[in-house]
Amino acid sequence: MTIPAYTAEMIADLANRHELPLPQERRAAVAATLTHVRSFIGTLQSARQDAKGAITEKDFHGTV
């Protein structure tokens, strides 16, 4: 899974869609953090492919 390198402009758009007030001076930090975090979580995709056996819906917990 390829994670986009978020820009401040992309974050402004995303924040707007999520009704999240995000002053301009914060957007670069959120962009960098979201890029980093999503890339890190994205490593789970390769871990899944390396694991034995197919993963199905039964691998999810039922509730949070």
Binding site: A15, V30, T33, L34, R38, R48, A51, F60
Partner: protein
């Protein structure tokens, strides 16, 4: 020995024999708080008068000769995420200003029923979303962090500001501060202790558990706050030290990497001592370790952002900078990332269940190094690599939150810097009795951790 230095077990015995009054005990603890807490700031709210009043009532009850509940007259602190009716639950955050809890958390009711006396609320990293508790100092050296997020609870127990405390643990927040402050911390099996009345961080990873000075005290406190009472209780399991045949897993991957050499050597010595005591050491390749941290972050960020979805939109400037950035980021995380992390969690839980069919417990470090300096953002390892403090403290702990299994941190010694560190036992679900027995053996090997020396506190 001053009353504030006693364990719960010791104090309860003296109280039952009428050789120590709850008033004397609570007063001793409060004197300790008044002497030291200006420098340590473990407490966000001290309940001195109510605690003394409760102690007087407890004393009256003792004098009637009535049967005493197990924690009668014992001063206990509560992490300030836990509701007490009529009191603010600050979560150490400006967001909570003006909040007053309407009812007691389930664990508060349980402790009151067991006779405990609440000394006050202790500082947390804001909303438990961090590993350092910036308001609070480490009692072993005030220029260092006590760890977090239950840093106030661990610091108070460490310096004698309470005989025990409750903490919460989403990725190590009981065990890390316990290890860094030289006390015992237990994260119970998921579902063992109620979360009702506790401000959540990430509901599917959150746990409530005890922070104490001894392993036996952790067992006593766990019994008091467990949802279900069992015949073969954790405390009863500690009557003997028999571990012959216990298969103790020593990981060959992940858990001994990027580790302070002095801690590694101390744990190697403990492994040998436990083997001499009858444990069978088994080398274990721990499965799916590469999924632990991304799984933890994917779940924690998304769930925390959901918990705070209103406040992060209506008053974002009320949060501290670090927590605000995490909540803003989590608010923009796609659902597919969260679901991928949940899937990884399920796979990890299944793989660890299989692993625990081969061993009864793992022995691992709680923390890879000792307490960071306050405000320090990263550790630099011997190979020159840098690691954020939060990552270093979470990476040996998060798997127990993801899989829901119990984990116990016990003081394992002191580093040449004078700062304490811990050893952690992790076992399959509902194996608390085994972990506590192993922990008690470690106590016998290393000796009881002393109180921090006054010179260190004033340093």
């Amino acid at each position: 020995m001053e009353p504030f230095e006693l364990s719960i077990t010791e104090a309860s015995t003296l109280i039952a024999k009428k050789e120590l009054s709850p008033v004397e005990l609570v007063d001793s603890v409060l004197q300790r708080v008044w002497k030291l807490d200006d420098n340590i700031a473990a407490y966000s709210l001290l309940l001195a008068e109510p605690a003394l009043e409760r102690a007087r009532l407890a004393e009256e009850q003792i004098m009637t000769g009535a049967a005493l509940p197990p924690l009668q007259g014992i001063p206990i602190a509560l992490k300030d995420l836990i509701d007490v009716a009529g009191l603010p639950t600050s979560a150490s955050s400006r967001v909570q200003v003006g909040h007053v809890a309407e009812s007691d958390a389930v664990t508060v009711k349980q402790l009151q029923k067991a006779g405990a006396i609440f000394t006050g609320k202790t500082h947390t990293h804001e909303f438990a979303f961090g590993l350092t508790t910036p308001q609070t100092a480490n009692p072993w050296h005030t220029e260092h962090t006590p760890g977090g997020s239950s840093g106030g609870s661990a610091a108070a127990v460490s310096y004698g500001g309470a005989l025990a405390a409750l903490g919460t643990d989403t990725g190590g927040s009981i065990r890390v501060p316990a290890a860094l402050c030289g006390v015992v911390g237990l994260k119970p099996t998921r579902g063992t202790v109620s979360l009702e009345g506790v401000i959540p961080l990430a509901p599917s990873l959150d746990h409530v558990g005890p922070i104490t000075r001894t392993v036996k005290d952790a067992a006593l406190l766990l019994e008091a706050i467990s949802k279900a009472k069992v015949d073969n209780s954790s405390a009863n399991a500690l009557v003997d030290h028999e571990i012959t045949g216990t298969k103790l897993g020593v990981p060959v991957n992940y858990f001994y990497e990027r580790l302070e050499p002095e801690i590694e050597e101390a744990l190697a010595q403990l492994q040998r001592a436990l083997a001499d005591a009858g444990a069978e050491l088994v080398e274990v390749s721990v499965p799916l370790t590469e999924t632990i941290m991304p799984g933890q972050w994917g779940i924690m960020l998304a769930e925390a952002a959901f918990v705070h979805r209103d406040n992060i939109r209506s008053r974002p400037d009320h949060y501290g900078e670090d927590v605000r950035l995490l909540l803003e980021t989590g608010s923009l995380l796609p659902a597919q990332d969260y679901l991928m992390a949940k899937q990884a969690q399920a796979r990890l839980e299944r793989a660890w269940t299989e692993m625990f069919q081969k061993v009864d417990a793992l022995i691992v470090p709680t923390v890879p190094t000792v307490a960071a300096r306050r405000g320090q953002s990263a550790f630099i390892w011997q190979d020159g690599s840098e690691e954020p403090v939060v990552v270093a403290y979470v990476r040996f702990n998060a798997a127990a939150n993801l899989t829901g299994v119990p984990a116990l941190s016990v003081p394992a010694g002191r580093h040449s810097s004078g700062l304490p560190f811990g050893v952690q036992f992790i076992g399959p679900a509902h194996s608390e009795a085994v972990l506590l027995k192993l922990g008690q053996l470690v106590e016998g090997i290393t000796g009881r951790m002393p109180m921090p020396a006054p010179f260190a506190i004033c340093a």
